[in-house]
């Protein structure tokens, strides 16, 4: 590993002891202030003393002050090196404070019974939530649905690949088609779920229902039976996200040098053979990246499910996210919902790690 700076900077820093002391002083001073404020608020919370705080905002302000002092002190103490740290430090502080802290906090909530509308507040209940989850058929059902939804990505990938090949062919008005194909990605899922899910799929006079009747499906129902409802949701989500994969694959196709396909043609390969033997293997790395990113987005699928079917019929279209959303909306039980989300996160991390390892092996160029 090359651990040297790509950009060499000769640092001629002459940092006086006073400046260094000042740097240390502000950072520790701010940390001390943060600790005092937090301690005071905790004391008020637990009923030891009353300082008249309404919210935890003062702690937040103290934290922001501390973060600013930390960034400033880097420059004060370490001079030129500190200025380099300053590039990454703000983003790192931002992400750490907005994910790591809530995640730790979420772990605490996950093992408690906390109904936000009840005055009792948080009550630690050990593994009760885990037991409840274990015997909750709807959660496992939602997880199973996620597997089905993720498998649909393979079909989406095939369609996206086909469209990218079409766009890569010698055609006129390419810009028009590219913009038209890209538009579904721009639309908000909520508007899509109204436009298509509610209006165009409306059974009596929606255009798609009419079309289905014209094709000979007497009583079209798009959300009646569990299988068809799941399929409809898959189609809607595919409609929105196929452009995304298509654009990535198109970029990959355009990066393939023309000489390769020409050489294949000279060697006597037909279009079908030259696709499978030349284009497709060359596209493997891009395809794997596109599919992995698509899986990540698919695992967040919720908006259209919440707005069209709210999980029905009988949880057939539920995703984990929409299930937890309803769990919170209906029962305002924060503890149980958080535990479900945490378990989901663990499953995702394991699955994605395995997938990435597999993908790495799979996409390595054949030698």
């Amino acid at each position: 590993m090359n651990q040297r700076d790509l950009l060499h900077v000769v640092a001629a820093d002459d940092i006086s002891a006073a400046r260094r002391r000042f740097g240390h002083a502000i950072v520790w001073g701010a940390a001390f202030l943060l600790a005092v404020v937090a301690a005071a608020q905790t004391a008020q919370r637990t009923g030891f003393a009353d300082f008249g705080f309404q919210t935890w905002r003062p702690t937040l302000y103290a934290y922001i002050l501390w973060a600013i002092c930390l960034c400033w002190s880097q420059v004060l103490i370490r001079g030129e090196h500190g200025k380099r740290t300053l590039f990454v430090l703000p983003a790192a502080l931002f992400v750490v404070s907005l994910t790591v802290f809530p995640l730790l906090f979420g772990l605490v909530i996950a093992f408690s019974d906390w109904n936000l509308s009840s005055p009792l507040g948080r009550q630690f209940n050990g593994l009760d939530n885990v037991r409840q989850m274990w015997s909750d058929p709807f959660y496992w059902n939602a997880l199973g649905n996620m597997v089905w939804y993720s498998l649909a990505i393979l079909v989406e990938y095939a369609v996206a690949f086909g469209l990218a090949l079409l766009l890569n062919a010698e055609i006129r008005a390419r810009k028009f088609f590219r913009v038209a194909f890209l538009l579904p990605l721009m639309l908000s899922p909520v508007a899509v779920s109204w436009m298509i899910g509610k209006s165009m799929l409306e059974l009596r006079f929606g255009p798609i229902a009419r079309f289905a009747r014209w094709l000979g499906w007497d009583n079209p129902s798009f959300f009646g039976s569990p299988e068809i409802a799941k399929f409809t949701i898959m189609l809607l989500d595919a409609w929105t996200f196929i452009p995304f994969m298509m654009i990535m694959i198109l970029a990959g196709l355009q990066a393939i040098p023309k000489e390769l396909t020409e050489a294949a043609r000279v060697d006597g390969a037909g279009p079908w053979k030259s696709f499978w033997e030349v284009t497709f293997p060359l596209m493997l790395p891009v395809s794997v990246t596109a599919i992995l990113i698509r899986i990540i987005f698919k695992l967040k699928l919720a908006d259209i499910v919440i707005n069209i079917t709210s999980g029905g019929p009988g949880g057939a279209t539920d995703t984990v996210t929409s299930f937890i959303f309803r769990e919170y909306r209906d029962r305002s039980n924060v503890g149980y919902g958080t535990l479900l989300a945490m378990v989901y996160l663990v499953i995702i991390i394991i699955a994605m790690t395995v997938l990435m390892k597999l993908a790495e092996r799979f996409a390595r160029p054949r030698t």
Partner: protein
Amino acid sequence: MNKPVFRDSESDLSFQAGRFAGKTLVYTLLLAWAAVCLFPIYWTATTSFKMAPNVMQGALVPWVDYTPAWLGWRSLGLSPETIGAESTVRSEFLKRFFNSTIAALSSSTIAVILGSLAAYGLSRFSYRFLFMRNSDISFFFLSQLILPPVVLALPFLVLYRELALLDTRIGLILLYTLTVLPIVIWIMRDQFESIPTELEEAALVDGLSIWGAFFQIILPIALPGMVAAFILSLVLTWNEYFFAALLTSTHANTLPVMVASQTGSQGINWWSMAALSFAAILPLIIIGVVLERYLIKGMTAGAVK
């Protein structure tokens, strides 16, 4: 002797026919998919000008199947007759629109600033923080992409309640920044890695500081990447529904929440829903058509090496 000297042989003629058939097939498929992509937008736009009987009949083409009316837009207070008058629906709509705009613009701006700085640092210097080296720090940022929003949603709900940030725009902006930051870093790292370090070295020799070189030399070159990252963030944050639905109630509602809240209540007014949806997607359609180049640049960053 009318026989041409140069003529296509039989096999060439069949080849031409095959080529023509292939072209036809390609254009048919292209047009069919374009119709699939565009029809819902067309349907929404036309439905917003329909009246109840037109909707029931499933009329498709304005002026042929039905006479356009301003019904849908009047219910939003945006039709020609009502545009001058006071309208509570319109002010409500504008408030949501404004909320969405503020949240999307400011979170994208913050994310692009923070993300570009971090990406630049990671592409130029080597850092060490405890056990973490550059590649670990990059992975830490990018791994945020995997984090599903639902994991953060409930802890944030409780935290925001304690911090009195529930139902405020600032709260939403913070979360939106967090969700798009990994994407910005991904795009910008790709962008900065394509800029040779000799440029900064020359600038440093000429007496600029690191930050001076960054602002005066690198930023102008990396601007297309920043625009791409900004546009992509804008699309994602404008459309975001999940956090907005959970964390806002009356003051900081965004447009998607308003659209979603209309569907359930008091029978569906197709025309006004269509007008509302169309107004919600219109800004992004414009962005998509005008700035398509940047969107594609953003989406393909890092995919092709």
